[in-house]
């Protein structure tokens, strides 16, 4: 990890790197429980949150993470809707480069945008979600949460349920879970699955049938426009077939872990009784987000191995 400069997707990381991030995140999560939740590790470093998509949650998580490490943080939030009039991605990148920033955390509605930035910038690039493509820090915080709940992940089974086709959370999450030796199921109506099966993933359409096999259930957000695109006939029908509700929870393993990347559509992909049950690790995911992003920032920007890492 020491020689790695960017985090664009989880396949940038070896399993050893993942273990390393999770271990570092664990130390940082202790820092976050102290009365003074700040360490000087990245003092003098500048981190820019470059967000082309509204995402208060992810941006705040990165911002808090960087500030806890004493980095200077700048937020650059814009939209691509005025892209014809606005500055090109390249010119924005060159501007940031000229300002001498150390890391750029980028969220962009178009897949691959972080890869373009990497060509134009010397700074470390952290992908905070690109199009339908990748969301590596989400995958890492999900692993952190899963490990916390399930212990060893090898051989455990997780089902990703819902809009796999359009989900960067699922794409990166599935890769990360596979890398840790988990069995991965993808459960969705056929119109919300990728055009070709994902490697090493078992595909199913029947949520109830796979329920008893799962150690973890990862519920994906359903965007209302998918119904308008005609990918399923109605939210009611979707809900009937794929919502995680109390009835379905009754068929699950007693210690099943329920996860969701947020923000939830309560009453669509997940019912309140599932979201608020003790099985739910959804707020734990948010907490893990800060620690994991601290770990990633630290490992990409913090310089030398170990040593002064947690002051």
């Amino acid at each position: 990890m020491a020689e790695r400069k960017h985090l664009l997707d989880v396949d940038d990381l070896e399993r050893e790197d993942v273990e390393n991030v999770l271990e570092t995140a664990r130390s940082f999560s202790e820092v976050l429980r102290r009365p003074i939740k700040k360490v000087p590790s990245l003092r003098g470093k500048t981190v820019v949150n470059l967000f082309y998509e509204p995402s208060t949650r992810t941006r705040m998580s990165f911002e808090v993470a960087a500030k806890r490490l004493s980095a200077d943080v700048m937020n650059f939030t814009t939209s691509t809707s005025s892209v014809e009039k606005g500055e090109s991605l390249k010119d924005t990148a060159l501007t940031l480069e000229a300002m001498g920033v150390d890391a750029v955390v980028v969220r962009h509605p178009v897949a691959g945008a972080p890869w373009l930035l990497r060509q134009w910038l010397q700074a470390a690039i952290l992908n905070a979600g690109d199009g339908m493509h990748a969301h590596p820090t989400q995958a890492l915080l999900d692993l952190f949460t899963l490990k916390d709940r399930l212990g060893e992940l090898e051989g455990k089974t997780i089902a990703f349920v819902g809009d796999i086709l359009h989900s960067r959370v699922a794409r990166s999450g599935i890769k990360a879970c596979r890398a840790m030796g988990m069995e991965v199921l993808a459960v969705a109506p056929p119109t919300l699955l990728p055009p070709v099966p994902l490697e090493g993933v078992e595909t199913g359409y029947d949520f109830d049938a796979v329920m008893p096999r799962c150690d973890a259930l990862y519920m994906l957000r359903i965007q209302k426009e998918r119904q308008k695109e005609g990918r399923f006939p109605s939210l009611e029908e979707y809900t009937r077939l794929y919502q995680l509700d109390a009835r379905r929870m009754g068929k699950a393993r007693p210690n099943v872990v329920v996860m969701h990347p947020g923000p939830m559509n309560r009453g669509v992909e997940i019912a309140a009784e599932a979201a608020d049950a003790p099985h739910a690790a959804i707020t734990a995911q948010v907490a893990a987000g800060v620690a994991v992003r601290m770990a990633v920032l630290f490992m990409l920007l913090g310089g030398g191995e170990g040593g002064e890492r947690i002051a």
């Binding site: 390249k90 890869w115 199009g131 339908m132 493509h133």
Partner: protein
């Protein structure tokens, strides 16, 4: 042509698909025409090109180029595009009508044709729109474009498919009155909408919306049925999938009056060649699977596909240097077609050199139903001296920044290739000559 000295091209291997010639000969060019072919011509008093070890062929015919004039002269002009053609060995070019405004009426096509005539570079054959404004709603004035000075003989809404089946049917019926050709850009918009790359493993891995092979195949199947029913001639632009090839082959066997073209990039590149998120590889139809590539190569070899067309589509650097979804589709091709196909098809053993030359000359001429004196006399006595001289031994590195085209969006940039156009003669005049050609 008076005043030009006579020219002897000495010792070239003359390869002419029109007249089935493949032998070493001297060729005398006089007053813009081929005046004599013979084993040994007297050189005295004449300009001589020493062409020992070189191939002399008829100038190539480009079926499908976007020259961007009018409207996007920052991306290409008639001048830069037709100069690019000459450098690529083409002496005649069809330009697609998706300009701004589109070439959908007689005045527009005459304007473009007249301007090209003044330039005196490669010949220009404008293609007219099928529908007014290229909007797919009502027929454009195709007969008036045909009767105009531009003599438009082929029509296409290239850039988008004609989604309305009734309109396509009427277009096919209508042009049969004057022998016009309808060119189908087969793309069903409801299936391709929002797509960026071929739908499948690569689109999934890249997180990009896919353009399914079906988007082409559904409309292509429809257009084959419409051509069969109306009996009108149909040409299929940039065929890109194995199933399209299969349907085309079956239609030809049934006697449907259909021809088809394939691009160099669809013959040589697959979706697996998309490098990172480099938008130079963003093209429509998209680069498909390696199975599709294989089927296209076989179809180009066995005659199912009639012609190679480069689908030359220049874009400015700033338009291409964008997020993948925001960059326009298209690649430039005219200056790389010969070397990449010689290297990737002939040297690779997929086709022989004569077949490659057919795909670049007699194939497209057949599609456009062109005859002498317009195009197609080949290298015969009295033929217009539109000729290309090729060095097949020359190894070199393709450099898009050295192109005459304004477009730099060439997926083969930096590729080591074999085969180079050394000289292009247009009406007997040296219209392009590579810097380091030997001669007398």
């Amino acid at each position: 042509m008076r005043g030009l000295p006579d020219l002897v091209v000495k010792g070239a291997r003359v390869m002419d698909p029109f007249n089935r010639i493949d032998e070493p000969m001297d060729v005398l060019v006089s007053r813009g025409r081929v005046a004599a072919l013979s084993a040994d011509l007297e050189a005295e008093g004449r300009e001589v090109i020493d062409a020992q070890g070189l191939v002399l062929a008829p100038g190539f015919f480009e079926l499908h180029a976007h020259l961007r004039e009018p409207g996007r002269e920052d991306a290409e002009t008639l001048r830069s595009g037709l100069e690019a053609a000459l450098r690529g060995g083409y002496t005649a070019v069809c330009c697609m009508p998706n300009t701004m405004p589109p070439l959908d009426n007689a005045t527009m096509v005459e304007g473009v044709a007249a301007r090209a005539g003044e330039l005196g570079l490669a010949d220009l054959y404008p293609i007219g729109c099928i529908s007014r404004g290229r909007e797919g709603r009502e027929l454009a004035e195709m007969a008036l474009m045909h009767l105009s000075e531009a003599r438009v003989r082929a029509f296409s809404d290239d850039g988008s498919g004609v989604a309305d089946a009734a309109l396509m049917r009427m277009a096919l019926q209508y042009v049969s009155a004057f022998g016009g050709l309808i060119i189908s850009h087969a793309e069903e918009p409801s299936l391709s909408r929002g797509g960026q790359v071929n739908e499948g493993a690569v689109s999934t891995a890249m997180g990009l919306r896919g353009i399914p092979a079906l988007a082409e195949e559904v409309m292509l199947a429809r257009d084959l049925l419409l051509a069969e029913e109306t009996g009108s001639r149909l040409h299929l632009a940039h065929v890109s999938t194995a199933r399209s090839v299969r349907m085309l082959r079956e239609a030809k066997e049934r006697g449907v009056p259909v021809t088809a073209e394939v691009t160099p990039h669809h013959l040589l590149l697959s979706e697996n060649d998309i490098d990172g998120y480099d938008t130079v590889f963003k093209v429509n139809p998209p680069l498909r699977t390696s199975e599709d590539v294989q089927a296209l190569r076989e179809a180009a070899a066995d005659g199912t596909i009639d012609a190679v067309a480069s689908d030359h589509a220049p874009h400015t650097v700033e338009d291409k240097e964008k997020e993948f979804d925001f960059a326009p589709f298209g690649m430039v091709g005219m200056e790389s077609t010969l070397p990449v196909l010689y290297t990737g098809m002939v040297e690779a053993g997929a086709i022989d050199l004569m077949r490659l030359l057919e795909l670049l000359t007699s194939g497209p001429a057949g599609v456009m139903d062109l005859r002498p004196p317009d195009y197609g006399a080949g290298i015969s006595e009295g033929a217009r001296a539109d000729l290309v001289l090729i060095d097949l031994q020359r190894e070199w590195t393709l450099d898009a920044f050295a192109f005459a085209s304004k477009g730099r969006n060439c997926p083969f940039h930096g590729l080591r290739v074999k085969g180079k156009v050394l000289c292009t003669l247009k009406n007997g005049k040296t219209a392009f000559r590579a810097a380091n050609v030997g001669g007398g």
